[in-house]
């Protein structure tokens, strides 16, 4: 528990720095939320726009705006979205579920499959299985995400009709209860596959290398010298040690994953934070964008915490107290 608190305290300066950095970066962007709103509305007088700016607090000097924002963030008030006219926290929490769902399923699939493929490849080193897995991993990594996404839609939604093309739920039906869970799971399949294919390669390769490295360690020789079976050596001795770098990598990847999902969210109309951030950026919805950066930073910190705990449970040398 103390460890958790400590980690969270350590994260505070980082999160603040992220907010401040992005706050000033966004000031460099031309135009503001009012321009966008007025542009979308079709027409607006300069007086009206000035009024709007005053309403959003955009007329105040920058340091004051920042100070106000930071003061509010301290009490976890993320402010009001200019464009959506609702509290940022509400907007984000609406999307958080979808993001966390996609992220979790992607990590599980990518890590799970990556570990499995890496394992198979390492065990059949230099056989056709190893080669096939390596080539598969490389190709999935090298294929642009949106291409994979669109192709999966064409094949699995249009031609085979197995999965819906997009969205998170069936909006014609509005299922309840278990049916809804099943419906969401059904919608989750294609985006998860698309997103995890990219990361799959990473974990496969890492796992393979890690297995090979661990297989050359002295303790493996010891285990052999004890007469332990090869299967146990692989699946008990080596596997657990080989997983360590994979777990570390999974932690590092989380930040990238939230961002990397923009394209997948766009292709599959998945209502996640990535797309929201994208739209917020292009509508100069400062509060919303900063809120997303804030939350995703927290998310990364939280996931890393989980990763640390998982790591320490795998590796007794690391202690979390």
């Amino acid at each position: 528990m103390r460890y958790v608190v400590k980690r969270l305290l350590q994260a505070i300066p980082i999160v603040l720095a992220i907010i401040i950095l992005n706050f000033f970066l966004l000031q460099l962007a031309e135009g503001d939320a009012v321009d966008v709103l007025a542009g979308e509305a079709g027409s607006a007088t300069p007086e009206y726009m000035a009024e709007l700016r005053a309403k959003f607090g955009l007329d105040k000097p920058l340091p004051v705006q920042l100070a106000i924002y930071l003061k509010n963030v301290m009490v976890l008030d993320l402010g009001y979205s200019f464009r959506h006219e609702m509290p940022v926290s509400e907007l984000i929490f609406d999307r958080l579920f979808a993001t966390v769902l996609l992220m979790t399923s992607t990590i599980l699939l990518a890590v799970g499959f990556g570990v499995l493929l890496g394992l198979v490849a390492a065990m059949g080193l230099n056989t056709w299985r190893d080669t096939a897995i390596s080539i598969f991993a490389l190709i999935t990594y090298a294929t642009p995400l949106f291409w994979v996404g669109l192709m999966l839609i064409v094949v699995f939604s249009l031609n085979l009709g197995w999965f819906p093309t997009s969205g998170m739920e069936n909006f014609a039906m509005f299922y309840e209860g278990w049916d809804r869970v099943k419906d969401i799971a059904h919608h989750l399949v294609l985006p998860t596959i698309t997103l995890s294919l990219f990361y799959l390669a990473l974990y496969t390769r890492l796992m393979r290398a890690s297995m090979l490295e661990q297989a050359g360690q002295d303790y493996v020789t010891t285990a052999r010298a004890k007469g332990v079976t090869e299967n146990r050596i692989m699946f008990v001795h080596v596997l657990r040690n080989a997983l360590l770098p994979v777990v570390t990598m999974a932690g590092v990847q989380v930040g990238a994953l939230i961002g990397g999902s923009v394209i997948v969210e766009s292709v599959f109309a998945w209502p996640g934070l990535g797309m929201l951030a994208f739209e917020a950026l292009f509508s100069r919805d400062l509060n919303l964008l900063l809120g997303i950066f804030f939350l995703s930073a927290l998310l990364v910190v939280a996931v890393n915490l989980v990763v640390d705990i998982v790591y320490s449970s795998l590796d007794p040398r690391i202690e979390v107290d």
Binding site: A29, E30, G31, D32, A33, D35, V36, L37, A38, G39, E40, A41, G42, S43, A44, T45, P46, Y48, M49, L52, K55, R83, H84, E85, M86, L91, D94, R95, A98, F146, L150, I153, V154, S157, L158, G161, P164, T165, S166, G167, M168, E169, N170, F171, A172, F174, E265, S266, V267, F268, A269, P271, G272, M275, L276, E279, L281, F282, S283, R284
Partner: protein, 531 residues
């Protein structure tokens, strides 16, 4: 000419239409899922004419009128209207027994409040549409009398539920309409009631059981889905996950493909009130486009057919004047003007340039400029790339600059920091509403979007525009607009490229969705789904 008009004929027509509809045994019930793209910022159609709002809000709010596909007035909240002989008083007889979604009765006070306190004050186009309205009298609950300063025949074209939604006075009075809860929680009199808006996913409207048209709407529910990626929208349409997509939701190229498939159709109906025109805006205050000759040359060098054929896949009509040919019905459009070739005329363009003394340097370049364009999608990018290629042969070398919406808006309309800009405008049902804003000196309004960013100013034209706005006589009006178009064909502060034809792609099971001139911006009360 007598301006006194009863709408008996229109009423009759509406009745016929309804009768014809009922003959084909509509199925009641079902959910329509249609594409709303992008996700609207709010549902405050009284504050914003933003496209996606238009796709949702008119299902919730009614206007005084609706319009059929031939732009005839169809009564809605107003059962009939009467225009005085001098054209300065318009009396609307309102429908009785209409209630708001929250149960409150709809009365003339709502109309008065909406126009005077909301539309005239905070609607983007309201101040223009209702500029002549001085006051509105409400002799009784179901009569609204508009007192005008000058006759405003165009006003009657701006009374749809999309353009001028009637909003509930009891929910807005005493508040700043720009800050009201109504924006995200709308309450109207329309066929559907607002139920839920799941950000990033959909907005859901359910059937209004107390709708004033008996037996309507047929559908139990309509759901507007937000799907950011165009290819995915097409796939969703193909997979029947959505049944309706308008305003280019399905890219033209895919629309063409779907059109040729069983079960899907494409229509260009439903956009006559919008009248969109693709065009080029020039910065007329800065070299090189401060000379009319070079602007004419641009117009001559662009192959309008090519644009339509290869970027919009055949949907569109080369522009031939400052006004759309859709205005020929009202006699305002003038044909046979120079400088609007359907196919590029490079020789003519070069001759214009040579005659004006704009000569090429050693590299064959006469002028260099940066082309901006409206950041509203891939088609426009293609258009920009095409223009770069099309203008090279006449010695105009373009660099392309694609920026996001706020940057672009600020550059063009606030900073005037541009040279040549591709854009599109809605000409709307009357030039006063949609066209004047491009050209009038009074429309050089720095910081206001979609007005005269060319900063073209011509006193002669200003006078003609003023006259045209008030002229009630059709023949005289036609003559005035003829002159206007002639001047613009020479000066070309704006080069019209082509009349856009927006596409609506729909599943063939979806019926009666194009009964209104508003099309996708219509109320959808008669839409039904075949089993």
């Amino acid at each position: 000419m007598n301006f006194r008009t009863w709408v008996g004929a229109a009423l009759c027509a509406a009745g016929l239409a309804a009768g014809a509809g009922s003959a084909t045994a509509q199925t009641a019930g079902g959910t329509l899922v249609y594409i709303v793209q992008p996700e609207p910022p709010s549902l405050a159609s009284f504050l914003s004419t933003s496209g996606p709002i238009g796709l949702v809000a008119p299902k919730i709010y009614d206007g005084l009128f609706d319009y059929d596909n031939d732009l005839n007035i169809v009564p809605a909240l107003a059962e009939s209207y009467e225009v005085s002989d001098d054209g300065k008083t318009v009396t609307f007889k309102l429908r009785e027994g209409v209630t708001w979604h929250d149960g409150a009765p709809f009365t003339s006070a709502d109309v008065q409040f909406t126009v005077m306190e909301v539309l005239k004050k905070v609607h983007p186009r309201g101040p223009n549409s209702f500029r002549e309205v001085m006051s509105i009298d409400t002799p009784d609950d179901y009569t609204a009398v508009f007192n005008l300063e000058n006759p405003a025949p165009y006003m009657l074209r701006a009374l749809s539920g999309y353009e001028s939604p009637i909003v509930p006075k009891h929910l807005l009075e005493g508040q700043d309409p720009r800050n009201s809860d109504l924006a995200t929680n709308p309450v109207g009199t329309g066929a559907y009631k607002f139920t839920e808006w799941r950000k990033g996913q959909y907005v859901r409207l359910d059937k209004n059981e107390n709708y004033w048209k008996d037996g309507l709407p047929y559908l139990d529910r309509i759901v507007g889905r937000f799907i950011p990626d165009a290819s995915t929208r097409t796939a969703a349409m193909e997979n029947s996950e959505v049944m309706y997509g308008a305003y280019g939701a399905i890219p033209n190229i895919d629309a063409v493909r779907l059109r040729d498939m069983d079960g899907f159709s494409v229509t260009t109906d439903g956009y006559s009130m919008i009248n969109p025109m693709a065009l080029i805006e020039f910065n007329t205050k800065e070299s090189p486009f401060d000379q009319a000759a070079i602007r004419q040359a641009v117009s001559l060098a662009i192959d309008r057919e090519f644009l339509i054929e290869n970027i919009w896949f055949g949907y569109g009509k080369p522009a031939t004047s400052a006004l759309s040919t859709n205005f020929s019905a009202t006699g305002l459009y003038k044909a046979g003007l120079p400088n609007y070739p359907a196919n590029a005329d490079v020789d003519a363009a070069i001759k214009v340039l040579e005659d004006a003394g704009i000569t090429a340097d050693g590299d064959g370049v006469r002028a260099r400029a940066v082309l901006d364009l409206i950041p509203y999608g891939e088609d426009w990018r293609r258009a920009g790339e095409y223009m770069k290629q099309a203008l090279a042969p006449i010695g105009i070398e373009l660099d392309l600059r694609y920026e996001d919406v706020p940057t672009w808006l600020k550059r063009v309309y606030a900073d005037y920091d541009f040279q040549i800009n591709v854009n599109y405008f809605y000409q709307l049902p009357d030039p006063v509403l949609g066209v004047h804003r491009h050209y009038g000196s009074d429309q050089i309004r720095q910081g206001t979007h979609f007005v005269n960013s060319s900063r073209y100013s011509n006193p002669e034209l200003d006078a003609l525009l003023a006259a045209g706005a008030q002229e009630a006589d059709a023949a005289k009006r036609s003559e005035i607009y003829g002159q206007i178009q002639e001047i613009l064909a020479e000066d070309m502060p704006v080069v019209n490229l082509f009349e856009m034809q927006f596409l609506t792609v729909y599943n063939d099971k979806l019926k009666d969705h194009a009964t209104s001139a508003l099309g996708a911006y219509g109320p959808f009360e008669r839409v039904w789904i075949e089993e």
